[in-house]
């Protein structure tokens, strides 16, 4: 075997120069912009922004929210107006079951043909069995469902978060009692809560809201508690405790801001659950009452007329499915943005 040569040194030893010992003051300071450090939330937002799925979800949800705000006002009909039109014979009749103005849908499902007599009135989604404009009703329903979902989840978030944070922070006997309570509350099926509520309350929007308030906070409290258990051992808690901060200040001013990420993720998954529950309750007949409408009651209307006016069920179902899709995508995206795994990078 040949004797190995020692490799020549790649670089000569570094000889210090004069400049190395001069202060930088007065010279141009350079900040690395290519690999600049990012704030936590800036990083999360950036990750979210580049997540195609999450952005699709965001666009879908925002579009539906926009339509729910503007949609009902886009034509002249109110959501409970029964529309009268002049038919071919020159008589004024109630515009019952006029099929959508979208040609492909009409050939697929039949129904009353879209005649030129209605050319001045634009029934984009058609009209229902009572002669009400489905475009207006769909977006009015979406509006009602979204309002219910947002309001209840917001309250649930506040209640569940406080409950979980307090339970986790104090620990010991307080935690044990509070957790037994959660355990029992969690083992009551939602259906049972709804059925008992149906005894006490009139059917309608308030019943849906109360039912959601009673059930959805549990998930939030569990997440808030888990986060609290993780965070309360951190140094900054000890530091503020040493500086004399009270429990209330530590829980809500110091720790809460750090738990907000996972809680927002949970909110994103709770909103579709709320919309689903509302649809379910209205469909069963204990939710929204006529002439008010929501996604659930619209689906029920559509189901009742499915053999005669099959197109009627399509808009609310599509809106429901798109909302589910959008919120789930946003939730997934947010979860990944908060805790990025290496494989996602």
């Amino acid at each position: 075997m040949a004797k190995q040569k020692t490799a020549a040194p790649v670089r000569a030893a570094y000889v210090p120069r004069r400049e190395d010992f001069v202060f930088l003051e007065g010279r141009e300071l350079r900040i690395d912009t290519n690999f600049a450090s990012l704030g936590y939330w800036k990083g999360v937002l950036l990750h979210f922004w580049h997540d195609k799925r999450a952005m699709t979800g965001l666009v879908i949800v925002l579009a539906i929210i926009l339509l729910a705000i503007l949609g009902p006002g886009m034509n002249a009909y109110g959501y409970k107006d029964i529309i009268k039109v002049v038919n071919d014979a020159g008589k004024k009749v109630i515009a019952r079951g006029i099929s959508p103005r979208i040609p492909a849908l009409h050939t697929l499902f039949g129904g009353e043909a879209y005649s030129d007599a209605f050319a001045d009135s634009s029934f984009l989604f058609g009209t229902d069995d009572m002669g009400r404009d489905l475009w207006t009703r769909t977006w009015e329903g979406a509006r009602v469902s979204l309002i219910i979902a947002f309001v209840t989840i917001l309250i649930d978030m506040i209640v569940g978060m406080s409950f979980g944070l307090i339970s986790g922070f104090f620990g010991g006997a307080v935690d044990a009692v509070m957790q037994r309570f959660v355990e029992i509350a969690n083992s009551v099926p939602r259906l049972v809560i709804v059925s008992v509520l149906a005894i006490f309350m009139p059917k309608g929007m308030s019943l849906v809201i109360v039912a959601l308030l009673l059930t959805e906070w549990i998930g939030m409290s569990k997440i808030a508690r888990a986060e609290m258990l993780k965070l309360k051992e951190q140094e900054y808690v000890l530091a503020s405790r040493t500086l004399g901060a009270g429990s209330f200040h530590i829980i809500f001013r110091q720790i809460l801001p750090n738990t907000i990420g996972p809680i927002i993720t949970q909110v994103m998954f709770s909103i579709p659950t709320a919309i689903f529950t509302e649809a379910f309750l209205s469909f069963v007949g204990v939710g929204i009452v006529l002439p008010q409408c929501s996604i659930g009651s619209l689906i029920e209307d559509g189901f009742n007329n499915i053999t005669t006016l099959p197109y009627q069920i399509l808009p609310p179902i599509l809106v429901l499915a798109l909302l589910m899709l959008g919120f789930n995508f946003i939730g997934d995206g947010f979860r990944e943005a908060l805790a990025p795994k290496l494989e996602d990078m």
Binding site: I184, I199, F280, V286, L320, A321, M324
Partner: protein
């Protein structure tokens, strides 16, 4: 292990007792009276109340109700089915619901598992994409919407399946409701199985097994599947519970005489039938708690780590 199970069972029974008590009190302190008052005079109502023991202290009433309940007697309905004993009505309803629900779980789990495994083995290829899309649709569209479409297409447009449930042709007429109920289970299980399996495939012990020369079906069966399947047991519990809720609407749509439809009749009709609400509330809570308990214990048996940590905690 025995201690763990015993503790779990005791806790579940206690929870059920508390829920039953709260339900009972809530139903009893209801304002108004449980009898149609227009048809009865005050004296008749007072007599009826005394006969049913509604004027006794609530604890006495509860103990009496519980002792009857333990003998399987749910009392009588106030307005539904002309006050027939709830037990006889429940009997047929429970069997209908359970058979359809059981079928749905069976289809959902079996197909979901197969789909998930197939997707994980073909990661990044067409089947994987298909599985993803399928599971997204399954999660976003409620089961009753599927049923409405299936019913419209295969019972109305193409009259192949019966339009409503027919107890005489049980298997044939439960195809559509079971299938639509199973879709949510199917999509969730397939997605979960796929993700679990992919995770296990990337783990060190599978790499070790591969480097020892194990491959193909043997590797999947012995190392991947076994470890991937354990966590799936945990998602099964909430899925079954969701099935209970979904079954409510599905039974209403397809005209199935089940507990879901009974519940809808009890709460959504003109008058609310308190005794049915109470009986069904207890039944649902019992089912729910029972399923949770079963899954907890099953999980403890399947995964030794849970057992060990439970023992340490005890």
């Amino acid at each position: 292990m025995a201690k763990y199970i015993l503790k779990r069972v005791g806790m579940a029974l206690l929870t059920l007792l508390i829920i039953t008590f709260v339900l009972f009190v809530l139903v009893r302190i209801m304002p108004g009276n449980p009898f149609p008052s227009e048809r009865m005079s005050d004296e008749q109502i007072a007599n009826k109340r005394a006969e049913l023991g509604l004027d006794d202290p609530i604890l006495v009433q509860f103990v009496r109700y519980m002792s009857r309940l333990l003998q399987g007697d749910f009392g009588k309905g106030t307005s539904l089915y002309n006050g027939a004993p709830i037990k006889t009505v429940l009997g047929s309803c429970v069997s209908n619901s359970f058979r359809i629900g059981g079928l749905a779980i069976l289809i959902g789990t079996a197909v979901g598992l197969l789909l998930g495994i197939a997707a994980a083995l073909n990661r990044g290829r067409f089947l994987d994409g298909f599985c993803t899309v399928f599971s997204i649709i399954g999660v976003c569209v409620p089961s009753y919407v599927f049923l409405i479409f299936l019913q419209y297409t295969f019972s109305y447009k193409i009259p192949f399946f019966p339009y409503f449930f027919d107890a005489n042709r049980f298997l044939f007429s439960s195809v559509l409701p079971s299938l639509s109920l199973s879709l949510f289970t199917m999509s969730t299980i397939s997605r979960f199985t796929r993700n679990e399996m992919v995770e296990v495939f990337d783990s060190d012990y599978v790499r070790l097994a591969e480097s020892k020369g194990l491959y193909g079906a043997k590797l999947v069966r012995r190392h991947v599947l076994r470890n991937a399947l354990i966590p799936i047991v945990t998602v099964l519990a909430p899925l079954i519970v969701d099935l209970l809720t979904g079954a409510l609407v599905v039974e209403k749509i397809y005209g199935i005489n089940g507990i879901g439809k009974l519940m809808v009749d009890a709460i959504a009709g003109e008058g609310v039938d308190y005794n049915y609400v109470l009986a069904l509330g207890i039944l649902y809570s019992g089912l729910y708690i029972g399923i949770m308990l079963l899954v907890d214990i099953l999980y403890g048996i399947l995964d030794p780590r849970i057992r060990v940590s439970a023992k340490e905690a005890a």
